[in-house]
Amino acid sequence: MLLYIAKRLCQTVFVLVGITFATFCLINIVPGDPVQVMLEKRADPEMIQQVRHELGTDKPLPEQYINFVEGAVKFDLGKSYFSKEPVMSMLLRGFLVTAKLAAISFLFAVTIGISCGMLAAIKRGKPTDSFLMMIAILGMSAPSFWIAIILQIIFGLKLNLLPLSGLDQPLCYILPSIALGTRYAASIARITRTSMLDVIKQDYIRTARAKGVKESMVFIKHALKNALIPIVTLLGTQLGNMLAGSMLIEKVFSISGIGKLAVDSMTNRDLPLVQGTVLYIAVIFVVINLIVDLSYALIDPKIRYGKGA
């Protein structure tokens, strides 16, 4: 297992380096001088020179890259050009808001997704199964921001039950979480169902039945644990996508999370902030995937005992 962990860690370090490189390139291949683009026509040459010096873009590219990586590791990515606030503190503030929202939606998606998927697998071929899968494919096909608006219209405007925007009270979380989680719940339900159906065809399920194991236990004890690997893989990607996808929901509900930060920085062409958001969202995503991969070891003894890689 140590070998497996070591291998995964090495891979992660490599990917992290790749991410910093990609993010760095992202900024430096923007057509034209980034500073000029940033300041648009307002700037006189002297001012441009000054900003360049501030951002360090007057140095040669390799040195810039090293400075960038150094800053990234030290959690110091400079200041936002517009608000003059350190990028890190802005990110942190935004991240806390988004993380809360994403965590709640994730919980919602996992509970609904796995239970519906299991139910559909148990009732395979029956009306319950077809109904649940219809709902799932519908949920997968609707854009989250559209669901958010529909929820606002129904629960906020027509029924006047829940607040339309903001996150200042617990009730506020309900609509954004549902809007953000629906699509993921649907895909989790689908993968749970297919993975379960795949597993219950296996010989060891027949062995369990031949032992006289109760049908409910056949599903819960014998099938689910084996079906988990594809589900957990999906969960990892989904959590990362949820963090990024929350920016659509944040826009609808006027929440100032990390997503809003990302969108604003890009529309304003606020270079340090763009770098920061892209880099750290990617880093979080990679860390989540690392945790997922390590959790395979808990599920699959083949990995735990050295064989898998």
Binding site: L3, A6, K7, C10
Partner: protein, 323 residues
Amino acid sequence: MENEKHLLEVHNLTKWFPVRNSIFSRQQNYVKAVNGVSFSVKYGETLGVVGESGCGKSTMGRTLLRLLEATDGAVYFKGENILTLSKKKMKEKRKDMQIIFQDPYASLDPRMTVGDIISEPLDIQTSIGRKERTEKVLAAIEMSGLNPKFVNRYPHEFSGGQRQRIGIARAIISRPQLIVCDEPVSALDVSIQAQGINLLKDLQHSLNMTYIFISHDLSVIKHISDRVLVMYLGNLVEISPKQDLFTNSAHPYTRALLSAIPSIERRGTKDKIVLQGDLPSPLNLPSGCCFHTRCFMAKEICSQKKPELQQVGKEHLCACHFC
């Protein structure tokens, strides 16, 4: 010259598969699938290769044809070492050597018609005209006992036995001199198996081919072979003319193998040799004689010294300290 009698001479053939143990350790480990096997095959004979799964018999068959590159050793085909031939020269040689596979499902491309599958060796090797190609394909189909009407059908419409016949037709279309048969009938039902064996025997006579027949089934090997080679963990343990091997087996592994076969005729015989334990891993071969961990005759010397092949009868060689 002695060589004239031999179609194939194999010297010290070795195939090790490297396994990366760890990204940190510099020590390279190997799955030692075939370890220094030497033998020769005469024109027109059938050499049976027998052993349990994991003994390296299929790997050896594939290495002989350079479907896998050998780690060490030499294979002389009609006096020429094919392991050192260039790609281009090897391609020409491939006309003379073919292979029949075990799995009737994985060995036929599901997206090709039967005709295209069978003519593949011709399409790759030669640039003959359509008419000639058609004739050759039809001839091969008929020789394999299939209905020529099937040419445009796809493999999924055929049963296991018929698919195996398609595989045989593909192997014989370029009129090879040597065919490696890798468990060609193992996946078939008994009644179909007998048809397959008879077909292979008939083709051998009419086309004058030499077979290396790989199987785990000693009774099939006994029926079809002229000489038999027994392998254990990548090592040749005994090679002998058929009669001698079955009446007078020298190696304890061969004897155990023979006695383990459940047979109708030997029903009720009580003095069975039942080997204990499992096959050791080919990653860590036992020291000395690789069979000593399961051998009922093992003495101290067996774990220390690797036995050499010794002559025990006419053309009968055995690698055991006590034979």
